[in-house]
């Protein structure tokens, strides 16, 4: 009963705020100003507390907000533009940040005035992230950061970076990590483009040389960085795994287009095409089911398979699409022009998408790591013996 009343009042509150935001909506307003208003009205992340871009209501109302914005033709692309901030950083701040930190970072993140990046992988710490060796040493109210991070998306335009570093090499690897927000424009931060298989540099290498980070930029306790990193990764994997896909859309659309454009009729190829279509549709339905279950508060194993399944399927579909193109598949339209995109690029030629897809089973957790996670956390299988578990980090062999 009280839940019903609560639900009714939450719905009324969201409706009222939407009316304030969208009543007499003027499309000529700058998107950043609009997003600022949206944040101030508590419609950025409705589940966050009031004053931090939210209303303290169930997250399910966010879909109401998104629907209303789209209907009104209001800008919603900040979530894509600043994906690492809005999609992951906000969740980290909400779960582990102090109120002062939330006030400092959430609003400019949401308006995209401040772009965010995530500094996790290192040359020596990929799947074994906890083995990271970039370090921070305390110096009064500051920390001094040294080390190298790699595969950092949008580091060259980001203002803030989320970075776990080693603050205690004398304890086992998971226990000696602390998590900071670092100013990417600070002295000693050097960002270099990392050109990839497609010729683009979506990612960067970032070098830290005696970078001073105030202690107020530390997230959670000293030594709690692994926990905070896990929150970040869970948000990332859910974000990758729960994207709604249209039936026959995305890379499947390109496959069907190539099938038609190149006039194919071979039964074996047709069977392969439909097999991929069916896999894509089963993935779409599973994502839909998982999102429904998550919203209903009864998430099950269906919510853990999305990223894993998508990676394999997208690789197979994009490779098959190039197959359908015959000799055209051997070309690379525009050539390998080294360039550095300033935002996420999801579109491209089938050949480019075929190459880009190789990363799907590596980025955001390799499929091998995802299978360990699914096997151990979802299915309850025992973990592997870990030889480095109780060793001080500095004694663990690496290379």
């Amino acid at each position: 009963m009280t839940d019903t009343i609560k639900a009714e009042s939450a719905e009324a509150l969201v409706g009222e705020r939407l009316e304030q935001l969208l009543g007499g909506y003027d499309p000529s307003v700058e998107p950043q100003e609009f997003w600022g208003n949206q944040y101030d009205l508590g419609l950025a992340w409705v589940q966050f507390p009031e004053g931090f871009g939210g209303l303290g209501v169930s997250p399910k109302y966010q879909s109401v907000v998104q629907g209303a914005l789209e209907k009104a033709g209001a800008p919603t692309w900040n979530r894509e533009l600043n994906l690492l901030g809005i999609g992951m950083g906000a969740g980290v701040l909400a779960a582990h940040g102090t109120d002062a930190q939330k006030v400092k970072w959430l609003r400019p993140m949401f308006t995209t005035e401040d772009m965010w990046c995530q500094l996790f992988s290192e040359p020596g710490a990929g799947s074994d992230l906890a083995n990271l060796s970039a370090k921070a040493v305390r110096d009064g109210d500051e920390w001094i950061v040294n080390g190298q991070k790699v595969w950092t998306t949008l580091a060259h335009i980001a203002k803030w970076g989320m970075i776990p570093v080693r603050t205690d090499p004398d304890v086992p690897k998971h226990a000696g990590i602390t998590y900071f927000i670092v100013d990417m424009k600070a002295e000693g931060v050097e960002v270099r483009p990392l050109y990839q298989i497609t010729g683009e540099a979506e990612f960067n290498e970032v070098f830290f040389t005696d970078v001073r980070v105030p202690d107020e930029y530390r997230i959670d306790e000293v030594g709690a960085g692994w926990r905070v990193s896990m929150t970040t990764l869970m948000n990332e994997r859910v974000a990758i795994g729960s994207r709604a896909l249209p039936r026959g859309g995305g890379s499947m659309e390109a496959a069907i287009k190539a099938w038609k454009d190149y006039g194919h009729a071979d039964p074996a190829a047709r069977d392969e095409l439909v097999q991929l279509w069916a896999g894509w549709e089963a993935l779409r339905l599973t994502t839909l089911r998982a999102n429904q279950m998550r919203k209903a508060g009864t998430p099950g194993p269906e919510g853990s398979t999305g990223k894993l399944a998508w990676a394999d399927l997208n690789k197979a579909i994009t490779a098959f699409t190039v197959d359908l193109m015959g000799w055209d598949g051997t070309l690379y339209p525009g050539g390998y022009v080294l360039h550095r995109p300033t935002e996420f690029e999801s579109e491209g030629s089938p050949q480019r998408n075929f190459l880009r897809a190789r990363a799907n089973s590596i980025e955001g957790g390799t499929s091998e790591i995802m299978k360990n996670i699914v096997g151990e956390r979802v299915l309850g299988l025992p973990g592997e013996p870990r030889v480095d578990k109780d060793l001080p980090w500095k004694e663990v062999p690496r290379g």
Partner: protein, 379 residues
């Protein structure tokens, strides 16, 4: 409308959850795998008392309208039972009676026929075998050539039907034949003079089959289901429902296989470790989970659009192809993970492996259904 069909609601309500629990509990108590194996050694292949008990629990009546003695629910409720039956390897003519025949009668039957048969099906007092095809490649309407000639005010049926599931044990037969007007369906008692059945040994011991021979079988006008020559769309519909029903059976069985593999991975020790801690086993199990969850989504979706023919044309072959492949693969992987035990007669996984292959082939295999899907998508 199309969008609604694309985005069905997967959540179960309280009554549906309850139905799943009671069904699973009943099957665990009354039809454990030992019982399934005993029934597999009998000629009938199923147990009349269990059949009755299932009907008393309401399984048979779920999707039958109240005016014909049913509970008036939908295929979504029936799908819960079908999945649980698959998980338990329940033997019996449930698919042919409750899914296919009941729907054919409801779709095509005269009012008298509905009153005569549907309440009996709902009460568990009728078992129906579906006799459509006449050879190993039977999958669609082109594969039906048996003739029915008019005689007096009735009909004479002559020919042979193969692969009639539980055809040796059912009391009623739904048989397809060609008349001057086209394809027609007849519903006749299996004891009708001139009908003989020959049980054939099956790959899957939980699914009996018989070949039925019709030697100038005379039947009355009431045997014709609905209108003469109008059975084509009715048969196409029950073939789609059969595909959906089998998909659900496959999801239930595949889930059992996954759970069995995981349990073995936790309890079997080699090299001083539970074998599930090895990535070679763990990753296989994770892959199996992906397959099972995708199969589940396809089957659940199909079960929720049986009333929307336009979407069912896509959803049914999608489910049958995805679930057939998933079940076959997951059952095969389970044998591999169990090692020698998996190859033994003693462990029951072989029954799942056999049911996986058998259900994959029945009413057209995965490739056949992908062809249907490609046609439906205009590819």
């Amino acid at each position: 409308m199309a969008d609604q069909a694309l985005d069905v609601d997967f959540a179960l309500n309280e009554a549906q959850e309850m139905l799943r629990q009671t069904t699973r509990q009943f099957l665990a108590d009354r039809v454990p795998l030992e019982a399934v194996r005993q029934l597999a050694d009998t000629e009938a292949g199923f147990d009349e008392k269990l059949w009755q008990a299932g009907a008393e629990l309401g399984w048979h009546s779920l999707a039958i309208p109240e005016e014909y003695g049913g509970a008036g629910y939908t295929f979504a409720e029936l799908s819960i039972v079908l999945e649980e039956l698959g998980r338990a390897l329940f033997p019996g003519p449930f698919l042919s009676t409750v899914v296919m025949a009941a729907d054919a009668i409801l779709t095509a039957g005269t009012e008298d026929q509905k009153q005569a048969h549907l309440p009996a099906i709902a009460r568990g007092e009728r078992t129906v075998g579906v006799a459509l095809f006449e050879g190993p490649r039977g999958a669609n309407l082109d594969d039906i050539s048996m003739a029915a000639e008019p005689s007096g005010d009735g009909w004479v049926l002559t020919g042979t039907k193969t692969n009639v599931v539980f055809g040796q044990a059912v009391d009623t037969i739904l048989v397809a034949a060609r008349t001057a007007g086209g394809l027609s369906l007849f519903l006749i008692p299996s004891g009708t003079p001139g009908v003989s059945h020959e049980a054939v040994p099956t790959l899957d011991p939980t699914t009996k089959q018989a070949q039925l021979t019709f030697t100038t079988v005379s039947v009355g006008p009431e045997a014709l289901l609905g209108r003469e020559g109008a059975a084509g769309p009715v048969i196409e519909r029950i073939l789609r429902l059969a595909a959906v029903g089998l998909s659900l059976d496959q999801v239930g069985g595949a889930q059992w296989c996954l759970e069995t593999s995981v349990e073995h991975g936790k309890t079997r020790f080699q090299f001083g470790r539970a074998i599930g801690s090895f990535q070679s086993i763990k990753h296989r199990c994770a892959d199996m989970l992906v397959e099972v969850e995708h199969a589940r989504s396809a089957a659940y979706h199909a079960a929720r659009v049986t009333g929307d023919e336009e979407e069912l044309v896509i959803a049914a072959p999608l489910a049958k192809s995805v679930c057939s492949d998933a079940y076959e693969h997951v059952a095969g992987e389970t044998i591999q993970i169990l090692g020698g035990t998996g190859f033994s007669w003693e462990h029951s996984v072989h029954l799942y492996f056999k049911r996986a292959k058998s259900t994959a082939l029945m009413f057209g295999d995965a490739r056949y259904h992908r062809r249907l899907l490609a046609d439906a998508l205009g590819l």
